[in-house]
């Protein structure tokens, strides 16, 4: 019995050594199967449930000021939702800074509806059966840019400045592990366990994997997550101090990755493992 085991192991080793190209091929096949799996999932993405909920939240009069968000300016004029998500983060003259989608929605909830930032920032991420309102609203807004090209603007000087700040944050190495975003997402062909890591410094399809698929429904736990959560989790994984909810730091990072994603097709809210 023991003999047989050793033999098996030896055979496996030999096959492994001789079969370098074969290994690569099976990797491709695995990736192709995963793509097929994702396609099936995208046809029936529970994210649509949050789209419905977000739409209701957008149109309902709520908050201390009893107002809806239909006067919220997402950059294309008050109340214009169609195509707004793929053109954010962008510069807003009323606040004098570049804001990402969720940050802007939070801004509208505060200024139009009278909600308090402290209240919204208390538990800003989905958990169990709880989904924060801004996450549902982002999902609704994002869905109104389905099948549109990503076009994060760089025409205002502030937008170009924010891109540069985002780039610096992306490459900033710090923390107990001397990590940066670029440690995982600044090179081709890296992976963590079975997860292939896209290179966000490479404009186009690679970088767009930071944009496409978000906000996303996560099958683990069955919750809806926005990019605010994803960025927060990246900071946690790097052992960085936690960034503020809907902060300018996150907006700058999203500007950097968003601009690098320009030109690619956004497919609407996504679905993740």
């Amino acid at each position: 019995m023991r003999h047989a085991l050793v033999l098996c192991a030896a055979a496996g080793l030999a096959a492994g050594l001789a079969g370098q190209p074969a290994v690569a091929q099976s990797d491709d096949r695995t990736a192709a199967e995963f793509d097929k799996f994702r396609e099936v999932l995208e046809e029936a993405n529970p994210a649509e449930l949050w789209e419905l909920k977000g739409e209701e939240l957008w149109k309902t009069r709520r908050g201390p000021k009893n107002a809806s968000l239909e006067q919220c300016d997402l950059g294309l004029g008050p109340g214009v939702v169609k195509g707004a998500y793929v053109q954010m983060p962008r510069y807003f003259a009323d606040t004098g800074k570049v804001m990402d989608a969720e940050q802007r929605i939070v801004h509208c909830m505060i200024t139009l509806q009278g909600f308090k930032y402290e209240e919204l920032a208390k538990a800003p991420f989905s958990r169990g059966n709880y989904t924060p309102d801004p996450v549902s609203i982002v999902t609704y807004v994002a869905a109104q840019s389905r099948e549109m090209k990503i076009a994060v603007p760089q025409s205002h000087p502030k937008e170009r400045e924010t891109y540069e700040i985002g780039k610096q944050i992306f490459y900033y190495r710090a923390g107990p592990w001397d990590f940066s975003c670029a440690s995982c997402h600044g090179e081709d062909g890296l992976r963590i366990r079975t997860q292939n890591l896209p290179n966000f410094t490479k404009p186009g399809a690679q970088a767009a994997r930071s944009f496409i698929g978000w906000p996303g429904y996560r099958m683990t736990g069955g919750v809806m997550h926005s990019l605010q959560w994803r960025m927060n989790d990246c900071f946690r994984q790097q052992r960085f101090p936690e960034p503020g909810y809907a902060s300018d730091t996150i907006a700058a990072l999203l500007t950097y990755m968003g601009v690098n994603s320009n030109g690619e097709l956004y497919r609407g809210p996504g679905i993740k493992r």
Binding site: L49, L52, K53
Partner: protein
């Protein structure tokens, strides 16, 4: 009352390709919360679909089905303008019904 379902019906000839997305926690009754208390079972027991008031699909399901489940089935003899009504009922007696117009 539950949250709204998302129902889609695509006509291919006289066959409607129906997809229903339901918002439900689908708790098994096997899980425990962080304090060690069992989270009570809460799952959809029964699903019914009616086309213009006539039952066309019925399913009895249980805990094994995932959270926020999706169901897909085909209905023969459907035409544009038909009313498709879907109802689920869970083990706590909670119910939800949504209706769409086929091809609308």
């Amino acid at each position: 009352m539950g949250d709204p379902m998302k129902i889609r019906a695509r006509l291919q000839g006289d066959v409607a390709d129906v997809r229903v997305l339901m918002a439900h926690p689908m708790e098994t009754g096997q899980r425990k919360d962080p304090s060690g208390k069992v989270i009570p079972a809460h799952f959809i027991k029964e699903i019914r679909a009616e086309l213009n008031g006539k039952p066309v699909f019925e399913a009895q399901i249980s805990q094994a089905v995932s959270r926020n489940p999706v169901f897909a089935f085909r209905v023969k003899g459907a035409k544009a303008g038909d009313k498709l009504r879907i109802t689920w009922e869970d083990n706590t007696g909670d119910k939800r019904t949504d209706e769409i117009t086929v091809g609308g």
